[in-house]
Amino acid sequence: MSNAVREGVLPIAEAHPWRFTTREPTPLARLFDNKTFLVVMCLTPAVGLLVVFLTYPLGLGLWLAFTDAKIGRSGVFVGLDNFDSLFHDRIFWLSVTNTLFYTAAATVGKFGLGLWLALLLNHNIPFKSLIRAIVLIPWIVPTVLSAIAFWWIYDPQFSIISYLLKAMGIIDYNIDFLGTPWHARLALVAANIWRGIPFVAISLLAGLQTISPSLYEAAMLDGASSWARFRYVTLPMLMPVLSVVLTFSVLFTFTDFQLVYAITRGGPANATHLMATLAFQRGIPGGQLGEGAAIAMAMIPFLVAATLFSYFGLARRRWQQGEADE
C-alpha cells in the first residue's frame, strides 16, 4: 500500500490543473452519427459498382442472346433462334462436355492435392512460412504469364517434359501435348490444377487452423488412429470451409477462360473449347454477338445449380448453431 493512500491524500487530481471537459460535436460529426445517412453513404458506392459493372452487362448479355446482333449492327429480337441453332450445333455440345469434364477433373485434382498440401502445412514442418509462400506463387503469377509458361512446357518441339522423359529413356519421341484432343484436354486440366491448388490449400489451411489441437489430443486418448482422427475430427470440422471453397472453385473453373484461351485457343479443331472460350470466339472474333451471348447465357443454369448446391450444402449445420436451447 502506498504512502499517499495511507495518509489520505488524493494526488492525481492535484497533480496538474488540466481537467476533463465534454465538447460539443461538430455538425459533420453529428451527420455521420445519423444512421440513415450512414447507411445510404456506405451502400451507394457498392450498389453503384454492382449496377454498372454487373447488372447492366448481365442484362445486356441476356438481351443480346435473343437478338441477331453482330458487331457493327444492333440486331433485332429473334426469340429463341440462337438457342435453337446451338441445340443442333455439335461444337457447342462438345464445349459443354468439355466444360463439365474440365470442371470435374480439375476440381478433383485441386481438392485432392490442395487438401493434402494443407494437411502437410498444418504440421510443424521446417521452413513452414517459406513453403507457404512458395505454395502461393501459382496464384500470384498473372494467369496469362503462367499460360505462356505452360505453352512452353507443352511445346511440341521444346517441351521440357518430353526432354526429361527422353533423357530418362522412357520415350523416344516428343509428345504432342497440344496437338491431339485428349492430350490437350488433360494438359489444360493439369495447368488449371496447378493454378488452383494455392486457393484451395490456403483456404483449407485456414480452416484446419481453427480446429483446436486439444480435439486431436482428446481423439488420440480416445484411441483414434491418424486415419480415424482425419475421418472423425478433421473432415467434419473442415466441412463448412470445404463446401464454401468447393463452390467457389467450381464456379471459377466452370467459367474459366484465360488459361484455355491463352494455351490452346480452343484447338486443336475446337477440341478444347470451353463454353466461355466458345462464347468469346463466336461473339468477338466471329462477330456473332447474339450467338456468343446465347452460349454465355447457357452457362447460367449450371452456375445456378452450383450456387443452389452451395446454398443448401452450406446451410449452417446443427452443431454450428449458437448456444441457445433448440
Binding site: M1, S212, L215, E217, A218, D222, A224, Q321, D325, E326
Partner: protein
C-alpha cells in the same frame, strides 16, 4: 485401476528446462493433485503421463509397466481437458461413445455404458444435444462422462474447473470428489488453485519452477510446510512472513516486537517467522497492530495492517469496529508458529 510411478522426469523445450527431475509415486486408487503456480511444469507432467508430450529423461510407469514408448491410445487413460475438448460436431451421446466406437464395441455395450455414465452425471436429458447447446458446467460433465465410459486405469484432469464461475466450481469440485469416491479410479488432477487441491486431494504434490517442493496430505502441507514457498502457497489467505531473529524468549522482528516460538530454535539466528492469518487472535495488551484496511466477510473479519515495520494480515472470528489508523492488540500461539531459514527458505522447527 493402477498405480502411477514418475521417476526422475526431466523435460526441456529448447533451452528452457521445465522439469528438473520429478519423482512422484501415486498409489492405486489415490486422488493426487499436482498444484503450483503457472509455468511450474505441472501440466507438462500430466501431458507426459497422458503421452501427449515426449519424455525427456526418466520414466513413467502405469500399473507397473513403463510407458515411455507407449502411444497415448494404448495407455488406457482418460483425460479431461481445461477447455473440455468436446467434439463440436457430435452429440453428447456420440462424444461419450466415441472411444467405444473406435474400439469396435457393439451397439448394446455402447448404449449401456453411455446410459450408465449419463445416469451418474445427470446427463440423461442432454444426450441428443450438441456441445454448443450446453452450459459450461454441463460441458464439464460431458467431458467427465467421456472419460468414465472408458473405465480407464487412470483419470487425468487438466485444470478442469478453471473455465467455470466461482459457484459452479465449488459444486463441480464436490462432484468430482464424489465421483472418485464412487469409482475409486486412480486420479491425477492438475490445478493452480490451492483450495481445489486442499479440498479434493488424498495427496498433494506442490511444484514450483519444475521441481517438487513437497508431497503430502492436505493437512500435512498446511500444518508442517517444508519450506517458505509451500507455506505461502497453501492456505488462504496466505501466511504472514516476518523477518527478524531468534532470541531467548521467542522471535524478535525488526521493529522489536517479540513473537512466541516453541523451544528448539537457536538464539541469535536470523530467520523468517511465519504465522497464518487465522492463527492470530485478538489479545488485550498484546502486540499492537496498526489497522489499514478492514475486510468484513460476515463469517470473519480480515484486518490488513502492520506490527512494527512488518505488514500483517489477520483473520478474526470476531467482528471488529476500529477506524483505519487505530491499533488493536493481537497475539499468536507458539505451537502454531513456523520458522524458516532466511536464505534457503527451509523449515527450521521440527
Amino acid at each position: 485401476m493402477a498405480s502411477v510411478s514418475i521417476r526422475g522426469i526431466r523435460k526441456s523445450f529448447g533451452s528452457t528446462t521445465v522439469l528438473h527431475g520429478v519423482d512422484v509415486e501415486i498409489a492405486d486408487g489415490e486422488f493426487c493433485v499436482l498444484v503450483g503456480p503457472s509455468g511450474c511444469g505441472k501440466s507438462t507432467l500430466l501431458r507426459m503421463i497422458a503421452g501427449l508430450e515426449a519424455i525427456g529423461a526418466g520414466e513413467i510407469a502405469i500399473g507397473g509397466q513403463v510407458v515411455n514408448k507407449v502411444p497415448p491410445k494404448q495407455r488406457d487413460i482418460a483425460m479431461v481437458f481445461q477447455n473440455y475438448a468436446l467434439y463440436p460436431h457430435m452429440t453428447v451421446r456420440d462424444n461419450m461413445a466415441f472411444s467405444l466406437k473406435l474400439a469396435g464395441a457393439p451397439k448394446a455395450a455402447m448404449d449401456e455404458r453411455v446410459g450408465r455414465a449419463a445416469d451418474i452425471l445427470g446427463l440423461d436429458a442432454l444426450l441428443d444435444r450438441y456441445p454448443r447447446q450446453l452450459s459450461g458446467g454441463q460441458r464439464q460433465r460431458v467431458a467427465m462422462g467421456r472419460a468414465i465410459v472408458r473405465d480407464p486405469q487412470v483419470f487425468l484432469f487438466d485444470e478442469p474447473l478453471s473455465n467455470l464461475d466461482a459457484k459452479l466450481r465449488v459444486n463441480m469440485r464436490a462432484e468430482i470428489k464424489g465421483l472418485h469416491q464412487r469409482l475409486g479410479t486412480t486420479t491425477v488432477y492438475v490445478t493452480h488453485d490451492q483450495i481445489e487441491a486442499m479440498t479434493m486431494a488424498d495427496r498433494i504434490v506442490v511444484m514450483q519452477a519444475g521441481r517438487v517442493e513437497q508431497i503430502g496430505t492436505p493437512l500435512e502441507l498446511y500444518d508442517r510446510p517444508a519450506n517458505r514457498f509451500v507455506a505461502g502457497f497453501i492456505g488462504s489467505p496466505a501466511m504472514n512472513f516476518i523477518d527478524g531473529e531468534v532470541v531467548e524468549n521467542g522471535f524478535r522482528d525488526q521493529g522489536g516486537a517479540v513473537w512466541p516460538l516453541p523451544p528448539g530454535a537457536e538464539p541469535g539466528r536470523p530467520a523468517i517467522y511465519g504465522v497464518r492469518p487465522e492463527h492470530l487472535r485478538l489479545a488485550e495488551g498484546g502486540l499492537p497492530m496498526t489497522v489499514q484496511v478492514l475486510e468484513p466477510t460476515g463469517s470473519e473479519t480480515q484486518v490488513l495492517g502492520h506490527v512494527g515495520g512488518s505488514p500483517l494480515l489477520g483473520a478474526f472470528r470476531e467482528r471488529i469496529a476500529v477506524a483505519p489508523g487505530e491499533a488493536i492488540g493481537i497475539g499468536a500461539d507458539a505451537h502454531l508458529a513456523h520458522l524458516f531459514d532466511r536464505d534457503t527458505g527451509q523449515r527450521l522447527l521440527t
